[in-house]
């Protein structure tokens, strides 16, 4: 009974965090919230008696995936900055790129 309540509470947290992850404007907050959903999912797996899956979800879902997303976000920002600075330096290239 106590386990059912814990599973339900974790599930409710997952739904709320999932909706917040798509509703938020900031990509950083969104990435962190989806990592939190994965962490809650691993707790649910553990409560349901699947420790192998729980370990995989905790290590890959909430650890590695979050880090990969954060690196990707940093790199895409970096690429954006470079593009805009290139356009500022050479106006002709900017016009050519826009057409």
């Amino acid at each position: 009974m106590a386990i059912d309540i814990a599973i339900l509470a974790t599930g409710v947290f997952m739904v709320i965090a999932g909706i917040a992850a798509i509703a938020t404007k900031s990509l950083l907050v969104s990435i962190i919230l989806s990592g939190g959903v994965s962490l809650a999912a691993s707790v649910v797996f553990l409560l349901m008696g699947a420790p192998d899956v729980a370990m995989t979800e905790a290590a890959i879902g909430s650890g590695l995936t979050t880090v990969v997303f954060l690196y990707a976000l940093a790199r895409s920002k970096q690429a954006d900055d470079e593009d805009s600075s290139e356009r500022a330096d050479t106006p002709a290239a900017g016009i050519g790129g826009a057409s």
Partner: protein
């Protein structure tokens, strides 16, 4: 407006389709026929205390080989895509911020423990929950911590490539040994099975899972380094 209505309709359709699943969810008291067959046979067949590992490495060993191949292809793709353009070589090298004292000290203490824990997870895959994939990711976490603590650091690519290819070859070699000496490809009964619950038991399963763990760890470390960028 029209788009929102369509999205709502699609969502309602999904909810209706998945509604029966919601009522079936829950912890099953009695395992099904296939599950009970695995539970009964795997200690006798392979002397593996962890039934999940017996299924992943031996009963469904070929699927696991495929998974490892998919992971290899994915990390190779990430490496090829991200090293071709070499974003921000000169600009980011200068303004890299130093890591904080706390992070550097913690990295020094944790790195050894993390690598040991990862090795423990994949060596005890046939006894306790976990296995090659989980252990490999834990080892990659140790590498990630070091990359964060010292931004200028590089992963030794020669070592990583050697570990990755050697462990992959060991995996396939052990599988072929099973084909020649035992019942079929990836059959772990090429080595003595030993007693249930001992570290040196379950035939070749610990060796196979160690090879998978090292391979996954090396691949993911290489991928993290490729994502970090700023290599010369």
């Amino acid at each position: 407006m029209m788009r929102k209505v369509m999205v709502m309709l699609a969502l309602a359709g999904f909810a209706f389709a998945f509604l029966p699943l919601a009522f079936m969810a829950g912890v099953v008291k009695e395992p099904g026929a296939l599950a009970s067959a695995y539970l009964e046979n795997s200690p006798r067949d392979f002397a593996a205390a962890n039934v999940v590992t017996a299924i992943v490495v031996s009963y469904r060993g070929f699927d696991t080989l495929g998974e490892v191949a998919v992971l290899f292809a994915a990390t190779a793709g990430v490496g090829a895509l991200l090293t071709r353009k070499r974003l921000g070589v000169s600009e980011t090298a200068g303004n890299k911020r130093e890591a904080t004292e706390i992070l550097r000290t913690a990295t020094g203490i944790l790195t050894g423990l993390l690598v040991m824990f990862g090795a423990y997870i994949f060596m005890h895959g046939h006894l306790t929950p976990g296995g090659g994939f989980q252990g490999g990711v834990v080892i990659a976490t140790a590498v990630l911590l070091n990359l964060l603590a010292s931004p200028g650091a590089r992963v030794a690519h020669g070592v990583m490539t050697a570990v990755e290819s050697l462990s992959g070859a060991t995996y396939v070699g052990l599988g072929l040994l099973g084909a020649f000496l035992a019942w079929g490809f990836l059959d772990p009964r090429t080595l003595p099975l030993g007693t249930l619950g001992a570290l040196a038991s379950a035939g070749a399963i610990p060796l196979i899972y160690s090879a998978i763990g090292l391979k996954v760890g090396a691949e993911l470390s290489g991928m993290l380094e490729a994502l970090k960028g700023d290599r010369e």
